[in-house]
Structures are given as C-alpha cells and as structure tokens.
C-alpha cells in the first residue's frame, strides 16, 4: 500500500508534467521534438496513474504491463501518425 507522501508526490509530478507539456507548445519550434516531447509526457503521466493512483505497481505483472502498454502504444501510434 502506498503512503500519503508517495501519492501526493505523484500528484505533484503529474501537475508539473501537465504544465511542461503546455509550455512546450510555446517554446519548441521543431514539430518532431514538440510532438515527441508531449507524447512522452503522456506516457509518463499514464505510468504514474497506473502505478500509483491505480496501485498496479504492486499488482500481478500482467495487469500492470497491460495498462502501461496502453499508455505507451497509443501515444506512440499517434506520434507515428503525425510524424510519418
């Protein structure tokens, strides 16, 4: 079971990542770098929700990998569609 501190730190990380992704749109000129950065942030946020909020970090590996693969595959597919 996660501690309150771990959960709050994860929330803080999510907030910072959200603000970074919005800021990235204003400072990054290169389309490839911008889209890749934003979608990497999506994966990182999804990983936090999966492992910390959903508590799958301590769940059977199959379920954890299933959810993590979702937040990896979907942004990757979107990235591929936009860039190629």
């Amino acid at each position: 079971m996660l501690t309150t501190k771990q959960t709050i730190m994860s929330w803080l990380f999510l907030i910072i990542l959200t603000l970074v992704s919005v800021y990235a749109g204003k400072v990054l000129d290169n389309n490839l770098v911008f889209i890749t950065t934003v979608l990497l942030i999506v994966f990182l946020k999804g990983q936090q929700i999966t492992d910390i909020f959903m508590e799958l970090r301590d769940a059977p590996r199959m379920w954890r990998l299933l959810l993590l693969s979702y937040v990896f595959i979907i942004p990757t597919a979107i990235c591929a569609i936009y860039l190629f």
Binding site: M1, T7, V22, A24, V42, G46, A59, P60, W63, I78
Partner: protein, 205 residues
C-alpha cells in the same frame, strides 16, 4: 528471526522470491471492473487514433479549428481531474486503514473538484455554440464534440459511482472487503487517464 529467514532456511528458495510471495500481489478491485475498463480504453483508443488520422488528412482545417478552442479551459480540466484523482487515491488509502470518516470526506472533496471539470466543459460547449460552432461545423468539431462529450458522460458515470461508494461507506459496507471501493476508484482513474491522452491530442498538438 524474520519470516523470510525462517522460510528460506526450511526450503531452498531465494530470499527475493520469498519476498515476492509474501508481498501477495493482488489486482485492486473486481475483475469484472477491469474488463470493463479495458473495453472502455479500447473504444477510446479507436477514437484517439481516428482523430489523429483525420487530422493528418485535414491538417489545415484542424489547425484553424483548434485555434478556436480555449487551451486554458483544457488545462483547468486536466488539473481538476488529476487533483480529483489524488483525493480518490487518498480516500482508498484511508479506507484501507479503516478510517471511514476520513475516506468519505476525501471522496466529497474529490467530487467537488470534479464539478470544476463539469462546469468548465459546459462553459466550453456554451462558448462554442455562442460563436456559431456546433457538431456539424466541420470534421474537427464533429470529432471534438463526439469524443469530449463521450468522455464527459464517463466523468458523470464516475461521479455517480463514487457517490454510491460514499453512501455505502457510510453504511459500513467496506469494513471487510474493499474491492468494490477499489473498483470505483480505478474506474475514476481510468477516466483521468483518458483525459490525459485527450487533452494534448485535441488542445495542444
């Protein structure tokens, strides 16, 4: 002598493997809810991929249409859903420890924050309608209204589920088995996860 050492000495198994077994990995919530969550994620995956493809086929129109959206509204909604999820997660931790009153209070806070999402989303729709934009304006706005309204309905359902969980908690339903509580919480986190993909896709990129 720790349990790990005792068991290791009786049977020749590595200490790390014993620790793994003792951790007793379990899937939080009910299995049925997880299949429901997977089904919902699949449906939204199709929407997200479809949106990305449609944007590549109509890039100029999508760029012009996205400029009409309020990115601040999208940002506020993201922050609201993430924060609401925080309080739901804390509520689950509280019920794990048997702290019923704290768990209910945290659920109430999470729902109040979720209402921010509802108000902002309704405001967004009202704003777009007021400038003559609706679901038939163009392909972008057809997809925008379909995807975001579908997500909106999931948020509403999630709020109903959490409200029922709060009521059941007050009645003492989760003293022995909290899988129902965890199921509702995981559904809420799924709704949050979907918005985390939706927000950059529709508002930022």
């Amino acid at each position: 002598m720790s349990n790990t050492v005792i068991v290791s000495s009786m049977v020749k198994i590595s200490e790390s493997h014993i620790n793994e077994l003792l951790k007793n990995k379990r899937l939080p919530g009910d299995l049925a809810m997880w299949f429901f969550i997977l089904a919902e994620l699949t449906v939204f995956a199709i929407f997200f991929i479809g949106f990305a493809v449609a944007e590549q086929l109509n890039s100029e129109m999508f760029i012009a249409s996205k400029a009409k959206l309020h990115p601040v509204a999208g940002l506020v909604n993201t922050l609201a859903l993430i924060t609401s999820s925080l309080f739901v997660a804390l509520s689950v931790s509280a019920i794990h420890l048997g702290n019923v009153k704290k768990s209910i209070n945290l659920l109430i806070i999470s729902q109040c924050i979720a209402c921010v999402y509802l108000v902002v989303k309704i405001w967004e729709y009202h704003f777009l309608f007021s400038i003559g934009i609706d679901i038939e304006t163009n392909t972008f706005f057809t997809l925008y209204f379909l995807i975001t309204f579908f997500h909106f309905m999931h948020v509403l359902l999630g709020m109903v589920i959490l409200m029922l969980i709060g009521i059941n908690t007050k009645k003492g339903a989760y003293k022995e088995d909290i899988s129902g509580f965890e199921s509702g919480a995981c559904y809420w986190h799924m709704v949050d996860m979907l918005w985390i993909i939706l927000f950059p896709l529709i508002y930022i990129i």
